[in-house]
């Protein structure tokens, strides 16, 4: 589904953050992306999400060459990739419900056509009661789940989650992880960036480990 070949990336004139990174993300796969802070996990996710262009190497995404994708095509391809940002990026002036529905709304869908789906998804992530609340009054874990719901609303083929358990207690972390595994069982590929070893030990999944700009894969 997504293939990296000898991908390198540097920000501006800085040092190479990623060096010769090669891997394949198959359909319906589940993997952790780990490594010490500042080694480029977020950077790698941004490459996967097409918000960065590699400085060298080849990225193929849904069978398309990244370098040939135009700015106009980007929104369409992004719809097949769900992202949960490290800092959530919810809009504070909209309710949780509206935040989760935003990807559909910006595509021009009528509210009546998606209301039931959004409500169902909110219940699935356990936010059924917090639907009409503004994000500033949500707890960290609730924001996290709202961000996950928003990433899932368009039923993406792959979900990228950046430190989804970064600031929640271990118990909630386990629940969120179970949510992601359930999602994966239903057919969505999942990449979870984390440096929480305890979390990774709970699941027997592929591990992609970044260190010193290089990627090692433990199947």
């Amino acid at each position: 589904m997504i293939r990296f070949e000898n991908v390198g990336l540097r920000y501006g004139m800085g040092p190479e953050v990623l060096r010769d990174v090669s891997f394949v993300l198959p359909e319906r796969s589940f993997q952790f992306l780990s490594g010490p802070s500042g080694t480029g996990k977020t950077t790698l996710l941004r490459l996967l999400f097409l918000s960065l262009k590699p400085t060298r190497g080849l990225i193929t995404i849904f069978g398309k060459d990244r370098s040939r994708i135009t700015r106009e095509e980007l929104p369409h391809i992004r719809r097949r990739i769900g992202v949960v940002f490290q800092d959530f990026r919810l809009l504070d002036h909209m309710t949780t419900y509206e935040n989760v529905a935003l990807p559909l709304r910006v595509r021009g869908r009528e509210e009546a056509s998606y209301r039931a789906d959004v409500v169902e998804l909110l219940k699935w992530v356990g936010l059924g009661e917090r639907m009409h609340v503004l994000p500033p009054v949500l707890s960290g874990g609730e924001k996290q789940r709202a961000a996950i719901a928003r990433a899932l609303i368009e039923q993406p083929r792959i979900l990228l989650a950046d430190e989804p358990t970064g600031n929640v207690d271990p118990q909630l972390a386990r629940r969120l992880l179970r949510l992601l595994i359930e999602l994966n069982r239903m057919g969505t590929a999942v990449v979870v960036a984390t440096h929480d070893i305890g979390l990774m030990d709970q699941v027997d999944a592929r591990r992609m480990v970044l260190s010193g700009g290089r990627l090692e894969i433990y199947d």
Binding site: F49, S51, R71, P75, L91, H93, L102, A112
Partner: protein, 333 residues
Amino acid sequence: MTSPKASRLLLPAARLKETVSAGIRQQAARTLERRRLTPIVPPDSIAGRAMVLVIAIMTFLSCLTLGAVTLVRDTAAAWQTEIAREATIQIKPAEGLDMEGALGRARAVAASYRGVRGATIVDRAATARLLEPWLGPGLDIDELPVPRLVIVTIDPVERPDFAAMRAELAEAVPSAVLDDHRGWVDRLVAMARTTVTIGMAVLGLMLSATALTVIFATRGAMAGNGHVIEVLHFVGAEARFIAREFRRHFLIAGTRGAAAGGAAAVIVFVVFSWWSSRNVATPEGDQTAALFGNFSIGLSGYLGVALVVLLIAGLTAATSHFTVMAHLKRIET
């Protein structure tokens, strides 16, 4: 108890009523939901409200300047035609001059020219009235050597040949002096031109300052929205969609500010015009009226104000559009 027949009739009616009211309820719920949807662009922040205020003030000042320039231009033009429309022939009394005969001859000469619409002799009574402020009432014109006037009305488009008229007058009535107000008109034209040029320059500066201020105020109000643009972008909104939402929001905000400023300026002009027309008979009123006409900026003035308002609202929207596009380009590196 109702008869079976009646209940057969009642049942469908009740069902119909139920369906209709359910439909109405649903419709009401739907409109309620739609209205509840929060706008994509966050409601006005402090910077946004400051922007609306700045736009209102700058539009007000621009429209005042525009109105003042329109006023000066119209007044100057009115003066010019007013004065250019008349010439006077003055006949000084002389020993053995038959004044009435001389006046008649002078009028005949003037009236014979192309471009002269009419020539009237200022009669004794009118002359006496003209001199009354200086010489007092009860004046007997015949006792004093008072010069007399012939007013010549001129077609401002096709002016008569004054040189020829002057020469002919000198033959017919040697003591007649023709004044075509040329000197006056020339000086007035020069002054009016200078005033209008200065006014235009001031208006140009004012509009440039307004445009720049509006652009900076809009960018200031947009600064807090970078986060919103990014989120919209990352949830898959197309650039066109994001730009449209912001354009619409800022068009409304800009129109609100600009319309308020323009309306305030129009009110100022209407109030002044009403005040000056109410004071026509008083000395102050006459003086201001003589200087500025009646303060009404006319149709072109109002159209100008409307144009300024539209331009400023459009500029606000355009600025937000370009800010969005620039921001998106920066994200997409």
